[in-house]
């Protein structure tokens, strides 16, 4: 039955008559029930996963990256130091590692800060409850060979320390002192480059002639990327997510992004951040996402990572950050309450 659904998807992709988005719509009906009843499908040649990527095309002939994808992963961005230059696990090691990562978290103690949260498992937000693309890499970072972000330059260390120091003691002064994500401006993983996030790590890709649009659930922005050979914006125009321009190299979408603001500060980067992303449809269920970042004002050398994105059901629930941002007001009012308590205690 699962295979039949997959077959439906494949057929639609072959026909090129419907977008992947509507194919997903087909797949959303009754899948839950089907998955419970059906025996685990044996891997075989009819699996849509083996559909040659080269056959997946948009009606106008471009490689088809469209659909809903998740980058949720158990693979860490940086490789644990003790693994040195071991870039891959054996399949057995990978399975053990994934099992540990997906284990139920330790229960939190009553009356502790760690307990002050909603139960992630009840809301289906633990990674073990979501679809995760298999990966035998020991880190998402593929270069440098140690799988770790290169050390920051002294200039960057100083710049970031100055920022942190300027906000120290003022973290709750106003909404503007809170993080960009709390202000609903930019999620730290949003990029570019796009990094996996703990939950809601869903992405939708839509294509049209001369354009690719990427929507990430977290935090709601749609990146509209021209693939018509047009140049970047003038250097004096700076944007939170930079300015992305794409082109096709064979079946790979290559996206070049510059024109970041210095306030974007991706992992402490400066406005000189330059990101090159590559998207390639590997099979019906997978888009391989690779990126290289460079910023001579921040890191001594460039670094690169590779993240498999696996297909998930749509649609993506709208991220209505501002509408629901009670948390901002509550955080600030909580800080005022603490200040009053301290003032009373000092009397």
């Amino acid at each position: 039955m699962m295979d039949r659904l997959r077959g439906t998807l494949t057929a639609l992709a072959w026909l090129g008559a419907a977008s992947m988005a509507s194919a997903q719509g087909v797949a959303t009906q009754g899948v839950t029930v089907v998955a419970k009843a059906a025996p685990k499908p044996a891997p075989d040649a009819t699996s849509s996963a083996t559909t040659p990527a080269a056959t997946m095309r948009t009606p106008y002939g471009a490689p088809d990256l469209q659909g809903y994808w998740t980058s949720t992963t158990v693979t860490p961005l940086e490789r644990p130091k003790e693994l040195g230059e071991k870039a891959f696990f054996t399949p057995e090691e990978a399975a053990q590692f994934a099992k540990r990562q997906l284990a139920t978290p330790e229960p939190t103690g009553p009356g502790t800060y760690a307990d002050v949260h909603y139960n992630m498992a009840q809301f289906g937000l633990e990674k073990s409850q979501t679809k995760v693309a298999a990966n035998i890499r020991t880190s998402l970072i593929t270069d440098p060979p140690d799988g770790r972000i290169p050390p920051m330059t002294p200039e960057a260390v100083k710049r970031n320390a100055a920022r942190a120091a300027a906000n120290k003691g003022h973290e709750f002064d106003s909404a503007q002192n809170r993080s960009l994500s709390e202000q609903c401006i930019l999620w730290p993983n949003e990029g570019p480059p796009m990094l996996p996030v703990g939950y809601n790590g869903n992405t939708q890709i839509v294509q049209g002639p001369g354009y690719v649009a990427i929507l990430q659930e977290m935090i709601h922005d749609v990146r509209i990327i021209r693939t018509d050979g047009s140049p970047h914006l003038p250097a004096n125009i700076r944007q939170w997510m930079g300015d992305s321009r794409g082109h096709w190299e064979g079946d790979t979408l290559v996206v070049d992004t510059t024109n970041f603001t210095d306030r974007t500060a991706f992992r402490g980067s400066s406005e000189n951040l330059h990101v090159v992303e590559r998207f390639r449809r590997v099979d019906a269920d997978t888009v391989l996402y690779q990126f290289t970042v460079e910023d001579p004002s921040t890191w001594a050398r460039s670094w690169s990572a590779e993240i498999p994105m696996t297909k998930v059901k749509g649609p993506i629930f709208e991220y209505a950050c501002h509408e629901g941002n009670y948390g901002m007001a509550n955080n600030l009012s909580g800080a005022r309450a603490e200040e009053r308590q301290k003032a009373q205690g000092a009397k």
Partner: protein, 131 residues
């Protein structure tokens, strides 16, 4: 100007790293609450759902509370719809009250009066490991 450049990672180690905001700044671990009442409204706001409920006090008066919960996206993906939690449903909430003393709490555990979890389970389709 530089003050607005707050770097994003404000969460302390004990707080789930992917919380949209600091729960520790919002709620007070020394104010545990257990609320029994009826749902008046559920706000489906990504990434935090908010459940509004009325709690009847011993003296017969009613106090309205707001309960912060998880992302509606994961509930939607499990087939939960806007009609799944109707006004009037009786629920039990255990959590911690807001630091400022308002009638808001995080929904640490949300159950029906018979102990069943209000939201539970995983979409088997989403869980199926791939390849």
């Amino acid at each position: 100007m530089i003050r607005v450049l707050a770097v994003c990672l404000v969460a302390a180690a004990a707080i789930p790293a992917w919380a949209h905001h600091s729960f520790a700044a919002e709620f007070d671990p020394s104010k545990p609450v257990k609320l029994v009442g009826t749902v008046t409204k559920m706000e489906w706001i990504n990434p935090h759902s908010w459940i509004h409920m009325d709690v009847k006090n011993a003296d017969g008066t009613v106090t309205s509370w707001m309960i912060e919960g998880g992302s509606p996206n994961s509930l939607l993906r499990r087939g939960f719809t806007k009609n799944s939690l109707q006004a009037g449903t009786e629920i039990v909430v255990e959590g911690y009250q807001a630091k400022d003393g308002a009638n808001r709490a995080n929904g640490r555990d949300l159950t029906f009066p018979d102990g069943r979890k209000l939201f539970i389970g995983t979409n088997p389709d989403e869980k199926t490991p791939d390849k």
